[in-house]
């Protein structure tokens, strides 16, 4: 049985904000299906008693003094903007008329 359907690929692409061509959807479904088929081998392992590992080093919350320090200049922060107006990033219309 297929691990992933074309409909699911379309759903995931929407979640990922990724527009796919018809041909890409076709190819992606086949490739993801084969990769997920391979990944199924993890089911051979009983992990019911195993804790998940999200990081290999002990993580601690880091605090620092709330002190004023130099930071990126506004002009530098805007320098790579694809579109800008004055001191703002400009984007296409968000709300329909």
């Amino acid at each position: 049985m297929a691990k992933i359907t074309r409909k699911e690929v379309e759903h995931v692409a929407r979640l990922a904000r990724l527009e796919l061509t018809e041909e890409e959807k076709e190819r992606m479904t086949a490739q993801l299906d084969s990769i997920l088929g391979y990944i199924d081998k993890l089911d051979e392992l009983d992990t019911s008693q195993v804790e998940p590992t999200t990081t290999v080093i002990p993580m601690v919350s880091v605090m620092r003094e709330d002190a004023v320090r130099p930071s990126l200049k506004q002009e530098d922060a805007l320098a790579n903007a694809p579109d800008r107006q004055d001191a703002f990033f400009r984007v296409p219309r968000i709300i329909e008329d």
């Binding site: 904000r17 391979y38 392992l45 804790e51 620092r64 694809p82 296409p92």
Partner: protein
């Protein structure tokens, strides 16, 4: 003298003694780049004026007999995934083609402070996703040992530039083998540090719990020198460990008597190239000849590492790459109706096929209904893989494996089958999942003249021991002195 053939430590010693001018060094490398870059295609961007400018400053200091910083005038190549202030950082992706970072990565600040010069930014698989550098949106980097073969990846440009003497050394990044595998394919010394050993501040994120920056170099001493400069705690990266950084170069004693070398039986796999297998066996005998003791160890979950990796790494990547939305930096589609449409088209036009595939796989693994079956399952198997190493290191000091099951392959050979490409990282991926350090050194050549990589894996934060073992091996063998004919 052909200065471009020298190692970092040789150049450093000549420059520090005032026997050679940093300007001459840089010019010699620029001439070399001019001669071979057309064949090798290692660089995305060259920065010759900047390099010569800094070299002049050091030349003047030399003339005034002032004390020079330790790596003054040593020319390096930097993987195009590491942010360099004022110099394009593209990740070999259309989506970042015109991105010029307003800040330096911590590793760049440290290299600059040490006096090292940057010659340029090197080609890579787009966003470091790949094992052949064929996923670059810009060019195909060729293996200097055989121009019909890939240099490995994703740090293929850095590895090829070092092997072709176009720089004295380089930096790369390694998420599943991306320093060690191209290092092996190109016959150089290439080290992935322990997770947390080197700051990731300014490294464009792929999979944040796996990524590490590390050196690619002509010999192990050079790798030790570069690691010393870039390693250490950084307040700008909370995942960098507050662990003292030893003087790695001083640790290269050549003495490995009584050291226990673990050999995992799980690393004899079907599909292993017989020439690779025989070279590794010979290398183990060399280590025994130096007084090391062989120990059989078990890494029983090795067979599950690739599957685990492709869930963990893609899940983290799908989240990290959400930032490419065409708003604050990077490419934006010229054709869009509204905001969501702009996101969808920008990402469609900006990302290449492998990046899209991994974003899709990662998004799927994290999505409602599949999180437990895929992502959480992978995190649990990651625990088992990590425990394998903890157990194995109770019986040995280092683990020795091939870096990859085969030598460099031909262009196009694995491009149509993502899974086959993923499996070429089978021996390096576990190291990232467990967070342990590993170094690849050249351990011989196939009959057709392709280098073979030997991997030495160590305990967390014990780069010192893997460097000592790799260096002792290197001193006992001729391989690291070989150079490709270009």
């Amino acid at each position: 003298m052909e200065l471009h053939r020298l190692t970092i430590h040789e150049l450093r010693d000549l420059i520090q003694k005032g026997e050679v001018s940093p300007v001459r060094v840089v010019q010699d490398f620029l001439i070399r780049i001019g001669q071979v870059e057309e064949q090798v295609q290692a660089f995305n961007t060259l920065t010759p004026r900047m390099a010569v400018g800094f070299a002049k400053k050091f030349e003047e200091m030399q003339a005034r007999r002032e004390k020079l910083p330790p790596l003054a005038g040593v020319p390096l190549a930097i993987k195009d995934v590491i942010c360099t202030k004022g110099v394009a950082t593209t990740c070999s992706s259309r989506i970042l083609e015109n991105y010029v970072p307003p800040y330096n990565a911590t590793v760049m600040a440290r290299l600059n402070a040490a006096g090292a010069l940057m010659l340029g930014k090197t080609n890579m698989d787009e966003f470091a996703m790949g094992s052949s550098t064929e996923n670059s949106a810009f060019k195909k980097t060729r293996n200097p040992w055989n121009l019909g073969c890939v240099p490995g990846g994703s740090s293929g440009g850095s590895a090829a530039a070092v092997a072709a003497d176009m720089c004295a050394g380089a930096l790369g990044s390694d998420t599943g083998g991306s320093i060690r595998q191209p290092g092996g394919f190109c016959g150089i010394a290439a080290l992935k540090p322990t997770y947390g050993r080197v700051s990731r501040y300014g490294l464009v994120a792929f999979a944040s719990s796996l990524d590490q920056i590390g050196p690619l170099a002509k010999d192990v001493r050079d790798a030790a020198i570069l690691l010393k400069v870039i390693a250490g705690h950084d307040p700008l990266d909370s995942t960098s460990g507050n662990v003292p950084v030893p003087n790695y170069e001083a640790g290269l004693t050549g003495d490995i008597k009584g050291l226990r070398v673990g050999i995992p039986s799980e690393y004899s796999i079907p599909g292993m190239d017989p020439e690779v297998e025989s070279a590794i066996h010979k290398a183990i005998r060399v280590l025994e000849g130096l007084g090391a003791v062989q120990e059989n160890v078990a890494l029983p979950h090795t067979d599950y590492a690739v599957a685990t990796y492709y869930l963990v790494a893609t899940a983290e990547a799908s989240s990290n790459l959400e930032r490419y939305d065409g708003v604050k930096y990077g490419y934006r589609t010229p054709r869009s109706e509204h905001l969501i449409d702009m996101y969808m088209k920008t990402r469609r036009e900006g990302f290449g096929p492998e990046v899209k595939r991994r974003i899709m796989l990662g998004t799927y693994a994290l999505s409602a209904g599949y999180y437990d079956a895929y992502y959480l399952k992978a995190l649990k198997v990651r625990t088992l893989i990590r425990q394998d190493f903890t157990e194995a290191f109770k019986r040995c000091d280092v683990i020795v494996t091939p870096t990859s099951p085969t030598p460099a392959f031909k262009f196009g050979e694995k491009m149509d089958d993502p899974l086959q490409m993923y499996l070429s990282d089978i021996f390096t991926i576990s190291g990232n999942l467990a967070g342990v350090p590993g170094i690849s050194v050249n351990c011989g050549f196939t009959k057709s003249g392709l280098p073979i990589g030997l991997q030495v894996i160590g305990k967390p934060f014990d780069e010192e021991t893997i460097l000592r073992v790799a260096h002792a091996y290197e001193q006992a063998t001729p391989w690291h002195r070989e150079r490709p004919r270009l």
